[in-house]
């Protein structure tokens, strides 16, 4: 116990040192790769997920106001990368940080287990959306911005690209995406993909709102959605 605490604090201080340097987007090696190679145990994944559910809900849907993002349906690769980044202090998230620590989640195997569990949860059919409905000029402009800037990596309907660690963004809460987009544009989210930072550098605040509004309104593939917004995760009965 004492030893593991010591190790944790060593990892912590190491993380602090690393965080003063510019953070890397996606270096290979380390825990992320280890976890990707392991065969997930979904039963243990559920057990680990109980900690996460205190904020992200048993359904993994997060909060509509965007404080906590939806995790359900996100690619395993993306979830692992973000967890590993938060744990390594490569992505600043003081609220989430303690939950990403090995003492809370466990080793690479537990990481593999919990992300496999989350990835197979059905998604929220009622995510938080921006203010402009289809048919408004702002919606149309958002779609144009998306087609011109985002499709190549996030896909034609926001599905992302798991092998490249590009997240699924369809069905995500508007306000969460707005916050992350702004942080990526302004250099506050340190583990951002540098190509994206460059791509969106010239986006005004209005552009940002319009493109995210569009993304928040992309219909999610039906087979990924829960049957209704009142669906409850039966594993938590």
């Amino acid at each position: 116990m004492k030893k593991s605490k010591l190790i944790a604090s060593l990892i912590f201080s190491l993380g602090m040192v690393v965080s003063f340097q510019s953070a890397a987007w996606n270096e290979s090696g380390g825990e992320k790769d280890d976890a990707m190679k392991l065969t997930p145990d979904l039963e243990n994944g559920l057990e680990v997920y109980e900690v996460c559910s205190a904020c992200h809900y048993p359904e993994g849907w997060g909060t509509k106001d965007g404080t906590f993002p939806q995790l359900a349906g996100q690619h395993r690769e993306v979830l692992i990368k973000q967890l590993a980044d938060i744990r390594a202090r490569n992505r600043d998230n003081p609220t989430m940080y303690p939950f990403a620590l090995p003492e809370s989640i466990g080793d690479a195997q537990a990481l593999a287990d919990v992300v496999a569990y989350i990835a197979k949860l059905p998604m929220n059919p009622d995510n938080g959306k921006g203010e402009w409905a289809e048919g408004t000029p702002e919606f149309a402009q958002g779609k144009k911005l998306y087609d011109d800037n985002c499709v190549k990596c996030h896909g034609d309907h926001g599905q992302g690209k798991k092998e490249k660690y590009y997240p699924r963004i369809d069905g995500q809460h508007y306000k969460y995406m707005l916050r992350q987009f702004e942080w990526i544009r302004d250099g506050k989210r340190r583990n951002a993909n540098p190509d994206m930072v460059k791509q969106i550098k010239e986006f005004t605040d209005k552009d940002m709102k319009m493109v995210i509004n569009y993304v928040s309104r992309i219909p999610v593939e039906k087979n990924l959605l829960a049957p209704s917004k009142d669906w409850k995760n039966p594993d938590f009965d």
Binding site: A54, T67, F68, T95, Y97, P98, F99, S104
Partner: protein, 108 residues
Amino acid sequence: MRIKLISMLSAVALSAMAAPAYSVDGAAIYKNPAKGGCSACHGKDAKSPIMNTYPKLAGQNEAYLLQQLKDIKSGKRNNGMTAAMKGIMHMVNDEEMAALAKYISGLK
């Protein structure tokens, strides 16, 4: 008669709007993610925090709890581990903070 009825009805409606204190349940707020999910960090019993740098809250003085909640929300208190809480405090209003302080202070 009709006027009396209308004013009576609106008085009932007004009091229902003005004083929903009885319906704010501190215990429910404490574990509701949409209200910040206090229990995630401070523990279901409010005395087994996830980090040993986070406080045990159960049985703490109600007035003290309320003041800290208010100060962390407003940004007046900005030290210690408040960074972890700052991003979620917009999810509770004054009334809900009061209910939380009351509930937590009553825990043993």
